[in-house]
Symmetry: C2
Subunit: 449 residues, 2 copies
């Protein structure tokens, strides 16, 4: 076994450099994004890594191909992060990696800089201690995952032969719970859009015009309220089209998994579940699509009738749903609610990702399961679903013909996308040990197809 100690201060100091770059793909300058990419390339000198420009933020690619005859894997991850949200809600500055007891805190430590860092250190440890990696490893790190990977498809298509691999291993895609090992065999798709309501040509004084013109915020509230039925189901006609019925067997499998709903809620500060009727919380999470309003903006706390109001809406999709059809169904539902004196518009985002699945008996799933059993002896490895979206998976399948194994060591409860994102420090060490086992297993016992 490789010998290293990622809890070591030097390791955390190095990860802190990566976290310190505020690589928010939605907002950051190209200089900032470039700095994060360069940092990664610096870590990947052993793989002759390059920062390659795209029409958006650059990608970092590299390859170590010294294991003649062994399989080739493509490691995927991303160096971009979500916006911080309200900085006042952070206990410590978001781009300053902070050790707090058993965890480290900072934007991106869990999604996805920490998990990417685990792979870097694993590869470097192999090279330092054994002079080689056990199999051929290519690396592809992008800077646009959090905005739907708009330029990744063109890049992968243009570099398909360079990126060719037997298997993609994603350092992105958190495990669902910290206290039990799991391998995800499914992730949800994504379709998102803005609903924009236009009223008068300018903001109006709410006294001098109130009650005589349509208020875009009222129209928007009506539309948003109409998207769900009172029981929690999505009310958009056609939204659930194409989804196979949940089989009694799958229901039993899910019911078999220890999942304490009151505890799940309590950790979120909640006491009552919510969601589509006829399904348990875990079924809702893993097997059912969702439609969530992510944001609403309009006017403010002053006496105004705003001339425009905007809602940001996203849907998580399951196998059987077509992202384009979902967007069309919502657009039809919304635009049917045009109100006199207002104009309603749906602006669908370009990024449309169908759900992704991997067979539970795939050799890579078996290797990952064995690797996790080595690191967490005596524990059952669950086959789970990622209710989040990893747009690259369907792309790799389509263009490279390779399945993607999710192998991240972040956990779903680590406030990904929220203030005070954190990562459990022990997972750095566990993750490196697991990547070591996985690579050895893929190289010797399991030949990915």
């Amino acid at each position: 076994m490789l010998c290293f100690d990622p809890g070591d201060a030097a390791y955390l100091a190095e990860l802190a450099e990566f976290v310190a770059v505020p690589s928010i793909s939605r907002d950051a300058s190209s200089a900032t994004m470039g700095a994060a990419a360069q940092w990664l390339a610096g870590q990947l000198r052993f793989a002759d890594a390059q920062v390659v420009a795209t029409d958006g933020h650059p990608v970092v690619v590299g390859a170590w191909l010294g294991a003649a005859g062994a399989p080739t894997v493509l490691v995927y991850g991303h160096y971009d992060v979500q916006p911080t949200g309200a900085e006042a809600e952070w206990a410590t500055p978001p781009f300053q990696l902070t050790v707090d007891g058993d965890v480290i805190r900072g934007r991106g430590v869990s999604d996805d800089k920490g998990p990417v860092y685990i792979v870097l250190k694993t590869a470097q440890a192999f090279l330092a201690l054994e002079g080689r990696l056990p199999l051929n490893v290519k690396f592809l790190f992008e800077g646009e995952e959090e905005i739907g990977s708009p330029h990744l498809p063109a890049f992968v298509a243009d570099h398909a032969s360079d990126l060719a691999a037997d298997l993609v291993i994603s350092a992105d895609g958190a495990m669902w719970r910290p206290d039990e090992p799991s391998v995800a065999v499914k992730s949800k798709g994504l379709a998102s859009m803005d609903i924009v309501v236009h009223g008068a040509s300018t903001d109006l004084h709410s006294g001098r015009y109130g009650g005589t013109v349509a208020n875009p915020l009222h129209v928007l509230a009506d539309i948003l309220a109409s998207l769900h039925r009172p029981d929690g189901a999505v009310a958009v006609g056609g939204f659930y089209d194409g989804i196979p019925e949940l089989s009694p067997q799958r229901r039993r499998e899910i019911a078999d998994i220890a999942f304490d709903v009151p505890r799940y809620l309590a950790e979120l500060g909640l006491t009552e579940p919510h969601g589509e009727p006829g399904f348990t919380t875990l079924e809702r999470l893993w097997e059912r699509p969702t439609l969530e309003i992510n944001g609403v903006r309009g006017g403010g706390k002053y006496t105004v009738i705003p001339h425009v109001a905007v809602a940001n809406v996203s849907c998580r999709l399951v196998p059987g749903q077509d992202p384009d059809a979902v967007i069309e169904a919502i657009a039809a539902h919304v635009t049917a609610r045009q109100a006199a004196g207002a104009r309603v518009e749906v602006r669908a985002d370009d990024a449309r990702v169908p759900a992704y699945t991997m067979p539970g008996n795939h050799p890579a799933i078996r290797a990952a399961t064995a690797a996790l059993q080595a690191v967490y002896p005596g524990q059952r490895v669950l086959l789970t679903c990622i209710p989040g979206t990893l747009p690259a998976t369907t792309l790799f399948e389509r263009v490279l013909g390779a399945k993607t194994l999710f192998f991240s060591f972040s956990t779903a409860d680590e406030k990904l996308h929220a203030p005070n994102e954190y990562l459990r420090i022990r997972r750095l060490k566990e993750g490196m040990r697991a990547w070591e086992h996985l690579w050895r297993l893929l190289a010797t016992r399991h030949t990915p197809t």
Copy 2:
């Protein structure tokens, strides 16, 4: 007649100094608010003006009492302004007074710095040309009108004898149209609140938790949609309680006023009216209360379920409505819509203003009408309503026992509270001539009671 030319560049340069102080009562520092107050006091040296501290922004008070035996009027106005809204929507910087053809543009030029400036220049012209004012004039300018005048009641109560007057004349309270003179005999009251929906203890990743917990934005949309009926009427039980039925005579009076609804809408970029059924647009504007959502905030365009969502709501009230009862009715309506997994809270604002009325045959109304007829010969002077709110009016009536005459020369269409607020330059001159006539008439012909 006094001889002056307020279109003169020197006058506009001086007004530009006042506009340049970004005295946004909601946000500005006390230094900024103090600078605006000091500017006013500098203009009012003839009245020994003082800047007086309050628990909020300071007031500016002064008095010229050299007209022994003549009546005393108290001139009221405000030096604070609304927030700019999106600065990108301004054609020119909001705090840089800009001449654009027949108008000047800048935050506060219409509400209320321009109209206040008219009074200052009128008084200074009297003193320069005649050595005296025709009647005794006290001045009271506050810095918190746009946030509901929270500290004015205590100030007026504490200084009631200093402020005592036969009549208050408000430089605030725009005329309703630029092309016909009018005197307002009524203004609407105000009750406002925030509706806050709390969900989980932190923002949640919309993939990893979506569909299993209540989304505060969904709950808020349901609540906001429930505040109005589909036909436009307010759906809150008790909201309309206490309002006398609109008399056939008043309906006829309003129908008699030339009011071109398509043109009114076209000026706002609209084609269709909206509002409470059973009333014309002008009846809705002048005679009926309103409930408007002014702002909504929550989450953003990223994959999040926000842990809190907020709506800012305000109501314009008519005679017969009790602001406290209106707030209670809305709070009861809203909190009855508690949803599982969310907590709904109503935070009512302190400022609660009932509607204000003045008899149409009041001597001050007659004097104002005559003054306007002198400036706008041959035109009918309309008796109108201000659908906005002037909280000071009821205060002056209660504490000083004095009615308030609205005598502003801004106009309701001048984008008050919105980007690109402007004032017609000719109104500076017309306003000064009208104030001159009004003061002379009040001093000699009409003795206010």
